[in-house]
Symmetry: C2
Subunit: 389 residues, 2 copies
């Protein structure tokens, strides 16, 4: 077990009607002027945005709105938000949506009090020491951004998609989690979200650190819960209990509890980020393609952790590690397929992936060697991309 | 799944040498004058207290010391600490020890800014709205007080042992967790700590709330980690990795993550509190006696959850719920016995327990009906106490 520091100060308010607490929670942290950030039409169509605005109005909270955040969010909206906050003396942000909306709100929050360009933080040229507080009303359980200190933004110029991780500054102050808000998610988005949260655990599970039984067991528990509840939300999108279990699982998958005391991997996320930056695919769908390919590579080169996953989560009984790992991957693929997720580039709609381009951009953005469980250079990442064809 | 609010703002610093961060963490929360609370001789003999004092001195932090906190801590030391804090304008507390020390520090922290008697909070006559900040250097993984909002104090007058639970005010601001500090724990204290942390999970696991798969699975994961690591710390008290796993498990067992979204039980803890208040036994040892008796009662009246525990944690394959639950209890008892824990009143050193007295005080302190999983009146609690003979 490695030394670690762990602090998750986010206050979670979970349950039916959680979003009605927005004004109260903003006031608890002394925010009287807020920028509401949201995405496309669904929060408008569902009436959620209007409800939230009405709650703010009734509480006398000044608000501005920034809508139109797209999946795989890009820097122009962040800059637009920073400008709005400065102009209107905004004191905090309220993200109403999924990971893209929350990540954009976080980037705005970090950029407002900073003299330079916000991208400096994502480019590693500067470190956040101050940020506006961010609150969240979650509508898509997937990215885990409601409880994480991360934010993924793509710089349009050069399509650099970068995930910035902070211990403290980018963690939301509060997150309002109402499973009912996820009833209207289309099946492909529900499924992609499930792949995303599972990947957040796999990235921590494939670790070079030995002797982290407690963190392994918690991770395996969250995975088992997801695997049991996922078919229920696919079968009945309005199954409150199953939606609730999936929603809370998505938060636990990425608020750090599955990573305590160990080095993490994140190679699959890095590899997928290049796919979605270049081809604009849904992040979770891209992960469903990359993760099994990553695990297949590992079954050949370092099968131990994949074998443990197979035995403890997928009930594989095989004693040989390599065979067990491969059998686990088959069961994972079967599970992903049952949710309607793609398993190959081709099923993702990319008939001829430009592996050379992906590999070049990957190592340009993330360095010569990526991964924590097993070191991956350009030769190895190309092999994994090719395994996903 | 029930609606819930969950916030664990405690900053955990985990690993070798964690205690050396004491001054830094106190300064981070603007504490310049601190009361150091500790127990008996072990923190003196080990040199830990002197090391901590030296760290404070080097950082120019003013400090006073309050030692001699006993297991099952009582109100006089709390009153003494409150007096010291007021006299010396103390700004925060640093608890160096296990649950009794931390719980005393928390009670002092709540009492200092309060005009009335601190016991008002424990007696349910008043609600905490202010408290001095508390930091922790943990030496005994057991009570989980380093991450919980709870404090258990016994009022000497009448031997009322009461656990007060708060969402926020009694949660430590930081907890420094160095597994090496637990190397010198005697085996019976290590074992009692393990029983205590397992009980913290069982109290949440035996819940009337259905459909909390995610919380069940996380709870089962923590239990499995404890069961796997416990024999290692008993065999080699200086096994750093096993001690680390046990220490972090003890925190997760009681910081609330195993209870999200469900009603909890806490009947066993309430029943044990009467035993340790009357007979002065070690809390964890008392729990090792009460928990199997509680579960045996449940196997007869509401076997479902015990059966799930047996199958998922103790690998029982029996299909009949009652039989499965009973088989799980046998395995739990075998596990407790392997750690040298008592399983009966008699093994606890109480040949003729005064069940009538225990039952009377229990319901006087906790109300006519206790328990969340299954309602327990005086007839039922007497039956459980008798099952533990």
């Amino acid at each position: 077990m490695e030394n670690f520091t762990y602090c998750t100060p986010t206050k979670y308010v979970f349950g039916r009607d959680a979003e009605s607490h927005a004004a109260e929670e903003l006031k608890n942290i002394n925010i009287g002027r807020v920028l509401v950030v949201y995405g496309g039409g669904s929060v408008i169509r569902s009436g959620l945005l209007a409800r939230v605005i009405s709650v703010l109005d009734n509480a006398g909270i000044f608000h501005r709105e920034l809508g139109g955040i797209q999946p795989n969010p890009t820097d122009p909206k962040v800059r637009e938000g920073i400008g709005m906050c400065r102009r209107d003396k905004i004191e905090g942000l309220l993200a109403v949506g999924g990971g893209s909306v929350i990540d954009t709100a976080k980037a705005i929050a970090a950029g407002v009090p900073y003299d330079g360009d916000f991208w400096d933080f994502w480019a590693g040229k500067s470190v956040i020491t101050e940020a506006l507080p961010v609150g969240v009303i979650l509508t898509i359980p997937a990215a885990g951004s409601e409880g994480s200190g991360n934010s993924v933004i793509t710089l349009l110029d050069g399509l650099h998609k970068i995930s910035l991780r902070t211990d403290y500054w980018l963690r939301p102050k509060f997150a309002l989690l109402n499973p009912e808000l996820t009833f209207t998610l289309p099946p492909e988005q529900t499924a992609a979200g499930i792949a995303d949260m599972m990947a957040h655990i796999f990235e921590r599970y494939f670790s070079p650190t030995a002797d982290v039984e407690i963190t392994d067991r918690v991770s395996e528990g969250v995975l088992k819960a997801i695997i049991e509840e996922a078919p229920k939300v696919m079968a009945d999108p309005c199954d409150y209990q199953a939606r609730a279990n999936i929603m809370w699982s998505g938060t636990l998958a990425h608020n750090g509890i599955c990573g305590t005391g160990r080095k993490e991997d994140w190679a699959s996320h890095a590899m997928e980020h290049e796919i979605s930056a270049v081809y604009g695919v849904t992040h979770g769908a891209g992960l469903a393609v990359v993760m099994p390919a990553f695990m297949t590579f590992m079954a050949a080169h370092a099968p131990a952790k994949g074998a443990q996953l197979a035995r403890r989560v997928f009930d594989v009984v095989e004693t040989d590690d390599r065979k067990a790992a491969l059998e686990g991957i088959e069961r994972l693929k079967t599970f992903f397929a049952s949710l309607g997720l793609p398993l190959t580039f081709s099923q993702l709609g990319i008939e001829n992936p430009d592996v050379e381009l992906l590999v070049r951009k990957l190592h340009e953005n993330k360095g010569e060697i990526i991964g924590g469980y097993y070191p991956l250079g350009a030769k190895e990442t190309a092999e994994i991309y090719n395994l996903a064809r």
